[in-house]
Symmetry: C2
């Protein structure tokens, strides 16, 4: 009887070229007979079935000529899920309720979740059965009631299970992660080059910016392609020992990508989720030894040594349980590391360090050598205490640069990062000593200048905490690709003197 009803009125697909950032949306005509017969109203969740494929979406209704009465308009996300040409007949039906939401509600009410409950939630998240408000409920529940050790372990494993997995020959596969919140600090490409040059295997996946001016993947992309699939990533690592690719494209932890987007939107990030997010990606990448950089500072993500210490403990213990040797390292997060903030600006810093140029930011070089030393020791390429010296020699004799260029070539070819056509210096209005840097405002300034969509846009910072500044001295240079973005950023800078605060000289 179902089929008889459904086939009496058939809707045909129409790609709307509607970009919604992974939010599946379909548009129906308000008088669409099938919507009426099935009892759909605007904002309903619907399931579309065409050929053998199905997709969930939020349905809205249009009453003018945008959509015909027998059409269903598809957002890009729905269109790519169904993967059918325009005009394909499609059935609409009520989606089944997401069964695992009952487990989420149990967590809301303070109950511990067992393995099956956590696995069912993550499976439904990864297959995009959760709406955004359901995701927000899941995230809030785990922020309201801290997961215990066992829940964190299960969460980590469940996130690995729903993604692709990689394995490598050899016993020690190293990796690195930074908990973030600090602009620039682009040490990853340097670490990958040094570690791979030292003979280690380091299959590094990185993220793109979500709320920051640049992710490592955005920076890397100004120098080489990063949208590699899992097979291409494998080839690069097999050939060169390391890579720097965009993680979401590889599909190592699809649930995590979905969760992170909503976490950012509501400003929550539970320890459990952070631990599971970081470790699941490393596990899925086939890593065995992971260095985790935890920058601590008043405007970084981790704000106090106590928080860093607790997070370190979670990462280490959960890591051990799932088979990862985790080494957390707490670093100074009070100011940017490197001078450039924005994809290409950060890439220029990375290349300057690799090329041992005089203009290379000393703090980025120092930070990279510190972390690379730890990584070489962790991976067994250097004795305890000898890692930094080895890292410095690999950098200084050009092996790191050659390895980096070889990795870029393997990923599809090296290119020099672009330079922004528009630049404007912001100078010190008075003399003084640089007392504080607000990393969040600085990131915002770089974003308003166009980063990361405009790859060459962003901010270059010319001063460090404690510097004595003279009146009129350039503090920041805003880089932009369009006059509008430049003006917008400068207006923001003028209204936000707190970005850099000077005390009287």
């Amino acid at each position: 009887m179902h089929d008889a009803v459904q086939s009496s009125v058939v809707l045909r697909t129409r790609r709307l070229r509607l970009e919604t950032q992974q939010e599946p949306i379909v548009l129906l005509h308000a008088d669409c007979p099938i919507a009426r017969s099935v009892g759909f109203t605007a904002r309903a969740q619907v399931e579309l079935v065409a050929g053998g494929r199905s997709a969930l979406a939020t349905m809205y209704q249009v009453s003018d000529g945008l959509i015909g009465e027998h059409e269903v308009g598809l957002s890009e996300d729905v269109w790519s899920h169904l993967d059918v040409p325009d005009g394909t007949p499609v059935n609409l039906r009520h989606p089944l309720p997401v069964a695992s939401m009952s487990a989420v509600r149990a967590k809301v009410y303070g109950h511990r979740l067992d393995d099956d409950q956590i696995r069912s939630i993550i499976r439904d998240v990864a297959t995009e059965r959760y709406s955004d408000v359901e995701l927000a409920t899941f995230i809030t529940a785990f922020s309201s009631h801290q997961a215990d050790f066992g829940e964190m372990v299960t969460l980590t494993r469940a996130m690995v299970e729903v993604g692709e997995g990689l394995t490598w020959p050899g016993r020690q596969i190293v990796d690195k992660h930074c908990v973030g919140g600090l602009p620039a600090n682009r040490t990853s490409p340097l670490l990958v080059a040094i570690a791979a040059a030292a003979g280690l295997t380091i299959p590094k996946t990185s993220s793109r910016a979500i709320t920051s001016p640049a992710g490592t993947a955005d920076t890397m992309e100004t120098m080489a392609p990063v949208n590699l699939d899992i097979a291409a990533m494998r080839k690069v690592v097999e050939r060169e020992g390391g890579c720097v690719v965009w993680g979401s494209n590889v599909g190592l932890s699809p649930a995590d990508d979905i969760i992170i987007r909503v976490e950012r939107a509501v400003g929550l990030d539970s320890s459990a989720q952070l631990v599971a997010s970081v470790l699941s990606k490393k596990l899925a990448a086939g890593s065995t030894h992971v260095l985790i950089d935890l920058p601590v500072g008043p405007t970084a993500k981790v704000r106090s040594p106590q928080d860093a210490s607790q997070l370190s403990e979670f990462l280490t213990l959960v890591g051990k349980e799932v088979g990862l040797d985790v080494r957390p390292i707490v670093t100074d997060g009070s100011q940017p590391v490197g001078n450039g903030i924005g994809p290409a600006l950060e890439a220029h810093d990375v290349l300057a360090v690799l090329r041992c140029e005089n203009s290379a930011p000393a703090d980025l070089r120092t930070r990279a050598l510190l972390l690379a030393g730890e990584l070489l020791e962790l991976g067994g390429a250097a004795e305890q205490g000898a890692g930094q010296t080895l890292a410095a020699s690999i950098l200084d004799d050009g092996r790191a640069l050659r390895k980096f260029l070889a990795i870029c070539a393997a990923q599809g070819g090296f290119r020099e990062p672009p330079v922004a056509p528009l630049r404007h210096d912001l100078v010190a209005p008075e003399a003084g000593r640089l007392a504080s840097i607000d990393n969040r405002l600085l990131a915002k300034l770089a974003k308003l200048a166009g980063a990361p969509a405009a790859a060459s846009a962003g901010v270059r910072i010319h001063v460090k905490l404690g510097d004595e500044i003279s009146r009129g001295q350039p503090l920041l240079t805003v880089h932009a690709e369009t006059p509008g973005e430049l003006a917008y950023a400068l207006e923001f800078a003028a209204a936000n003197a707190r970005i850099l605060q000077l005390t009287e000289a």
Copy 2:
């Protein structure tokens, strides 16, 4: 500088007639120069300013010809907020972050919220500054960490403060609320008629169905207009002593309407939110004495006597603190009250009781007299213990019917509810005794048949728990307005034998 940038490219409004159920959406062309210059990407929250008005919306991008590069397409919600004709120049900007979300996050982490924090949240919710995921976070936080007494009181008061308020002459203004979850149970129109006929003032606002087959407002609308504004509602009550109008249209508790929609979507409903929701609407309506019906049953909203008892205590104590005399009454919620489920079907039951017809459902009459008796006593129209007798005499001598028709006339005119053109009996496959009724499946069946959008659609139930049933006896009759809806409902009924369960005779 801001103005100079903004005015360089002006977007013009275009009403899309896009129905999104209060979700504000705007569409821009993917190449829209202003979006690029301001750094907007798809799914960003944007603020539109046109003339002196502004509106928040989620922005999506379209890359084909639906929207011009210099246009901004408005969903109906945004269009009605801005209230400007097509082609009006509009500025887009980044909305300020919602400051009160920091208070929500404090609640997530288990902190008690003070009065200012709760007030700021509810103000931002009422002015539609919260996105859906932020609303879900707020709701989940209050479900994860039960509000204390003081928080409930503040939440209730805050919800009153952001809405319209009514006051009435006289000291005792009565009202009634049902915590719901039981199909049919349409006692409100009967109570209003009886109480107003007894000389009491009862300014009743009701809701429309959100997830149920009919709200009281939907049922009432099949007999009289219910979309009255606050001034019209006042006139009806001043003239007749009572009314039954749609609450959201009156605007007594705008924050509540917004919160409830997301609560339903995620399946959460905290006690605090329920208490604040119910009491704030009664306070705003100017009521002083409120009867609250709490049907308890395994498939009703309140599932156990313990839950009912705790909720009663919250309602009574918070009510007292905000100046409401609340009388909770726990009733049987194991099966529907009345025979019809669906707007017009329930209206027919109500009219049959008012008209004292032989076919009138006895259980609906009994339930209405029980509640009306309590209400008359609560409002001082009857001595303790004499309420039900007075209520019965008002019903039996036709005063209730005359009052009801007068109220309908005052609201815009009485009409007979419609009758569905298509009806289909579902009969007992075997003989037996009716052992259980799943209220939720029954409601779903009525919705699939078309209720509440199709006013005459729904289900009529012919049996009660414990009835001896013979083979082939009609159990339910499905009413529908279209063949598609009828077939869809029958298919569901065939697949869900659990709706009514018989034991062997």
